[in-house]
Each structure stands twice: as C-alpha cells, then as structure tokens.
C-alpha cells in the first residue's frame, strides 16, 4: 500500500533463480552512488532496497544508517532471506533502522523452492531467516515494530505447493503474502485457480494476501486480492480484441505478454460489469498510492 522509492544496490545474488530479471552486466552501486541517489529524492521517507541480493552489498548497514540520517522512516529490504539466517546480521539491520522485509520464498519444501532458486541449501536458510524475523517480531523489544511480507513467485513448479507454502508462512507469522505470476510457461487459468485457493487459505489463517500479474477477468470473485486493483493506474497498453468492452479495460494491462506471444488468449474474456469498478476508479485519485518520480 505504501509507495516506496526503489534503490537497486546491484546484480550480485546468492541464488541462481530461473526467472531473475536482473542483468549481470548491471554494476554494483557504491555507497557514495547510493547516497547520491537518496539525496536526489524529493521525499526519501519510504525506501525499498533491492538487488540482486540486497544483503550481499558490503555497505548495506552504512547505507541504511545514511538513509535514516536523510529522513528515511521506512526502509524495506527485498531479499531472498538467506543471510537473515545470521542472527547477528539481522539484529544489526534492525537496529540500524531497517524494519520492513520482503522475503522471496517459492515453496514449502526444499524441492519446490530450490527448483526455482537453483541452489541447494537455500530453502533452509530462507526459512531460518523468516523464523528469526518471527522470533524478533514476537519479542517484547520489537513487538509491532517489524513488518514481514513474503513474495512467492508462482510457477508451474510450485502450483501444487502453494497451499502448503501459505501454511508454512502462516506458521512463521508473516504480515502479507504476495503471489506473483513469474514464469511464462504457466497454465493461466489453472494457475489463477491455484492462487485463488491459496489466497483463501491465507484469509482463513487471518493473513492478508494479494496476487500480481493475474488480470481481473481471471480472478472473478477474488478482485479484492488483485494488487493491480488496489493500486490502479490508467493503462494505455494496446489490448487484444477479446478485451473489447471490458469494464476494466483502462485499468488493466491486458493479458501478459508471454501469453499473447503464445496465442493463449481464449482464457481472457471481457468483464461486462463489476460491482467494484466504480470504487476502484475512485482510487485513481489517490496520489499517496504511488511514489513521486
């Protein structure tokens, strides 16, 4: 919900994720460069530090400290969570002023998670990182002071494992779950149903969850969990014929590009009316939902 200004620290990673979009030719930013970027922001109140793997940046603690000194109130670390298994590093990050974490986890078992990360042992470390966050969040010192979101990349490999993944995340007490369509080989409707089911299980466990990358026409009945409707932007993307007359046409980016490329458009059918669309449009007026450029 909060609009964060993104700072990409560099491409360095400790996994070999199949769907990683970070280019290796990108260079790792130096502390001075990153501080320059913070200084250039009109409002550095909400910062998101991402990578590659943000926790591998050697000056991460100094960057957090500098950003705090320049007025950052919420610093969110986007991470695979492996290095959060190191209790000392985690407490240093928290004490320096990083209180929000978005941890990527792709399954409830090493087989599903590591099929995506491509690195043996990564699952146990990520879960240990989440466990450490949970222990700290429940401690008297940090009660209510740490926010943990879990981002699950939805791929063909983990569709069957989504519900157990939600159960695992529920046991780790996360504050939000994001189920993001990540792979291009995904059977669209089947994935949408699996995601819908997983979000239902999250709700039953009293955890807020959203999905990303699933157009509203695929998520009828679950519109409340469609991230793109919670933070709508006007879309100017050209849409295929099937989208004509859709009530969401100006709020939706249309079917994912990979689906268009593969010609699998039959599953996307224009939504003739929706009880939500008027109130979703009202959200377009909310400037606080988007980071200032």
């Amino acid at each position: 919900m909060i609009a964060y200004q993104k700072l990409c620290l560099g491409p360095e990673g400790n996994n070999d994720c199949a769907m990683c979009s970070v280019k290796n030719e990108q260079k790792t930013c130096t502390l001075t460069e990153l501080i320059h970027q913070v200084n250039a922001l009109a409002d550095p109140e909400n910062l998101e530090l991402c990578g590659g793997e943000s926790t591998l940046h050697k000056d991460l603690l100094s960057l957090i400290s500098s950003a705090r000194g320049r007025g950052a109130k919420r610093i969110k670390l986007v991470t695979m969570g492996r290095r959060l298994a190191d209790w000392d590093l985690l407490t240093e990050l928290i004490d320096e002023g990083c209180r929000l974490f978005e941890v990527r986890i792709h399954g409830s078992r090493p087989e599903t998670h590591e099929a995506i990360t491509g690195d043996h042992g990564s699952f146990d470390q990520t879960v240990q990182g989440l466990q450490n966050l949970s222990t700290l969040s429940n401690s008297a010192e940090y009660e209510g002071a740490i926010y943990v979101a879990a981002r699950v990349g939805v791929t063909r490999a983990n569709l069957e494992d989504l519900v157990p993944t939600i159960a695992l995340l529920a046991s780790l007490g996360v504050d939000r779950i994001i189920l993001a369509r990540t792979a291009s080989d995904l059977p669209t409707t089947k994935a949408a149903r699996a995601v819908e089911n997983a979000m239902r299980v999250a709700a039953l466990n009293r955890i807020w969850s959203v999905c990303e990358g699933f157009p509203p026409c695929l998520m009828k009945g679950s519109e409340m969990h469609v991230a793109e409707l919670l933070r709508p932007v006007l879309s100017e993307t050209q849409k295929p014929k099937g989208c004509r007359g859709c009530t969401y046409i100006d709020l939706c980016n249309g079917p994912p590009e990979d689906v268009i490329a593969q010609g699998g458009l039959r599953e996307f059918r224009a939504v003739s009316s929706s009880p939500y669309v008027e109130d979703v449009r009202r959200l377009l007026t909310m400037r606080s939902l988007h980071a200032e450029p």
């Binding site: 919900m1 109130k73 209180r99 209510g144 926010y147 955890i207 919670l230 009202r282 959200l283 909310m286």
Partner: protein
C-alpha cells in the same frame, strides 16, 4: 473495636495500569454525603482487562466481604463482569449487584431479564443514582421504585423507573483527584472539562446521550490541573473531553490555565479534536495548552458514508487541520473504522490510502462495534445492520458491506496500518 462500617466495592476492568475515572466520580460524590462518609467504606477495585482473572477478583471479594457491589460496564469488559457477577451471586446471594456504564445503561431491562445475577442497572450517569442506592440499601431510605434512573428486579419482574435528569452543575461532583480518591499518575491521569458532545456520530455512545453540554467550572479544572502539573513525576496526562477544541473561547481558556500551571513541561497526550475546525488559532491554543498528540478521525474518507452515519466530514478541511497540527509539531493519530454502512472493501482501501496520504504519526484501525444506545444500534434495520447482540457487538454485515468484504477489509487494513506504523521517527 469492630468495624461496623458498610463496605462497598466498585469494580472495573480497564486497560492495564489505568484507573476508572467514572468510579472515581461515583466514590467522590458518595463520600461527599457526611453520613455515607461516616458509615461506609468504599473501595475501587480495578483489574487489567487483558489479564483480568475472574477467580482472582472473586477471591478479593471474599476477603473484602462487601455489602454492596457496583460494576462499571464497558463493551470490552462486559463478558468478564457477567462471569464475575454470576460467581459472586453464588457465594454472596444477599449482596446487591449494581451495574452501570455505557454498555448496560441503554439496555438496562434486557440485561436484567437475561442476567439474573444483576439486581439493579443504572440507566445513565451514576453519581446521584448510586448515592440514592447506598441510602436505600444501607439506611432503608425510600423505595427502589422512587429512585429515578434505574431498572431493577422485583419478584422475578423487571421494573423500569423513569430516567433521571443528569446533574446540571457538574461542580457538585467533587474532584476524585482533589479529594484523594484517585491519585494522579504519569500517563494515566484523565481530566474532564465538560460532559456531552455536540456531535452525533452514528457509532458513538456519546451520540445517544444528552445533547446538552455541561461544564465543570474553570476554577475546578484549574485546581485539578494545578495538582497534576505540580507533580514533576507526571510527564503527560489526558483530557477525556469529547472534543477538546469545542470552541475557540473554551479552548482559549483551557489553554491559558494549562499554560500557567505548566512548570515542568508536562504534556497533554491523545486528546480528541474536531479536525475540520482546526485553524491557525486552534493550533496556537493547542501548543499553548501543551498538547503533544491528538487522536482524530476520519473513521472513513467516504463522504457518502460520513453523511449516512451523521458525521460532518470535509476531506480538504480535515487534511488542512492535520497538516497545521503536524507543522506545529503535534503528533496526529488517525482512526479508521471498518464496517460502517455506506462503506465496502474498496472504499476502505480508499480511506486507508487517504489517511496514509496525510502522514499521521499512527493509523489506528478498529472494527465497528454496534453499541447499545448509538444511532447505528437504534437504526440498525434501516442500514441492514447485522451484528452480534452480545458484547463486543461486532458488526457482521450491513446493506453496503457484506461479511466477506468486512473480513477482508480488516485483514487488508490491519496489514497496511502495521506496515505504516512501523515507521521510525
């Protein structure tokens, strides 16, 4: 020498560490009557609502051996109080149990009908009524039928007396702090300059009460303020006035007397303000009064909903009021209620986004309680309100907000508010 004084126990369950101001008033008023002061011993027993243990309270009662017990009933403590009352009745069947407070007052007869452990329920303000009850039970003065402002059980029948006109001159109620009934303590001292509220917000029990505003004299408030602010160990305290910035004249007077008494840089925290009315002059007064933080709406940012629940709301004026207070260094806490009629899931998302855009120090989310005596309770049918008739009276659904949307709105808003509130200063 044996102690022949009659023992009265006044019981409440509060947020941990807090005293009950309402019971403080009742005790101070009762002890102001010389015979009562001479012949009774009144003890206030406050338990933490979070950890309040019925058997612990019961044990205390068996030790104190009261002749009369009064319960201060709020939505958050009613379940515990009823459990306690049932147990007390078993072991002290002859001790009259009197319930009062906003949870029971508007449903006095229903509570008596459904809970045989209770003997008397007070309709509204308790000070004068409770004094009459003490006189009736201990001195045999008058008849229960003649005590206005109560319902009671007689031979299995519930008898409802007429309501009582509230005390006009609030100074007739001695100050619980100045009389030593309550001891001012840091962070948990509550003062009051007036009773009542000029507004009629549909969810608020104040809205179901007397519209007439009644004031304590400035001399009285001044004396209480001098006592509290004269204690250097008290770093902050509160006013429970429904609207602290009621009008510029009242606020100006309060600000002046607070400023004069403020020798140790004591602060006022989480006072309630009507934000649309906050202008530069108001902010000057708030600062002069030592206000460090305020709590305010908007409850919802949807104008149609505000209109339905009888609240005045102007998004621009509200934003301006918040900004002016923030610029003056006052922390603003914004409250949102989930489940109001007129809202729905995406409207709640809008309210959260609007509120975050104001940059308050904290966002506080709560689920609508359809409280007895409130306009939403009284007009429940008109709004298609479904809610739990038992406390805490959580809303289930209404004509615009089905249950699944309310459930998801609570999950969404709680998560969003937590993400917002983890901000460091």
């Amino acid at each position: 020498m044996p102690n022949h004084r009659r023992r009265i126990l006044l019981v409440s369950f509060n947020v941990a560490g807090h005293d009950s101001l309402a019971l403080g008033y009742i005790k101070a008023f009762a002890l102001n009557a010389p015979t009562v002061a001479r012949q009774t011993e009144i003890e206030i027993l406050g338990f933490s609502n979070e950890e309040g243990n019925v058997r612990q309270a019961l044990y205390y009662m068996t030790e104190f051996k009261p002749h009369l017990i009064g319960f201060s009933c709020y939505v958050w403590s009613m379940g515990t109080i009823l459990e306690l009352a049932r147990s007390v009745k078993q072991i002290m069947p002859r001790v009259p149990l009197i319930a009062g407070g906003p949870e029971v007052g508007p449903m006095a007869d229903e509570y008596l009908e459904e809970h045989p452990a209770l003997d008397v329920v007070v309709h509204d303000e308790g000070e004068t009524v409770f004094l009459d009850l003490i006189r009736y039970f201990f001195a045999g003065k008058g008849r229960l039928e003649d005590i206005a402002g109560i319902s009671f059980r007689r031979d299995q029948e519930v008898v409802r007396n007429t309501d009582r006109t509230p005390i006009k001159d609030l100074d007739k109620i001695p100050s619980p702090y100045l009389t030593g009934v309550l001891t001012p303590r840091d962070g948990v001292t509550y003062l009051q300059s007036f009773r009542g509220c000029p507004f009629r917000c549909g969810f608020c029990y104040e809205a179901g009460r007397h519209k007439m505003l009644r004031f304590f004299s400035y001399e009285r408030v001044k004396a209480e303020v001098a006592l509290v602010m004269g204690d250097p160990s008290i770093r902050s305290f509160h006013f429970v006035d429904s609207v602290f910035n009621l009008n510029p004249k009242h606020l100006g007077k309060l600000a002046s007397l607070l400023q004069k008494a403020n020798r140790y840089n004591t602060g006022l925290r989480t006072i309630e303000v009507f934000t649309e009315q906050v202008d530069e002059e108001t902010v000057r007064y708030l600062i002069q009064a030592g206000v460090q933080s305020v709590e305010t709406g908007p409850q919802t940012a949807i104008a149609e909903t505000q209109k339905r629940i009888g609240r005045y709301f102007d998004a621009e004026k509200f934003s301006r009021g918040v900004r002016l207070m923030q610029e003056a260094g006052i922390d603003v806490w914004c409250d949102l209620i989930i489940g109001l009629p007129g809202d729905n899931f995406f409207r709640c998302v809008f309210s959260v986004a609007y509120t975050m855009g104001l940059g308050p120090a904290r966002i506080v989310i709560s689920i609508l309680h359809v409280l007895p005596g409130t306009p939403l309770f009284e007009k429940a049918e008109r709004f298609g309100m479904a809610f739990d008739p038992a406390p805490p009276h959580y809303v289930i659904a209404n004509d615009s907000f089905p249950f699944d949307q309310i459930y998801n709105a609570v999950l969404f808003s709680s998560s969003a508010a937590k993400e917002y509130n983890v901000a460091l200063p």
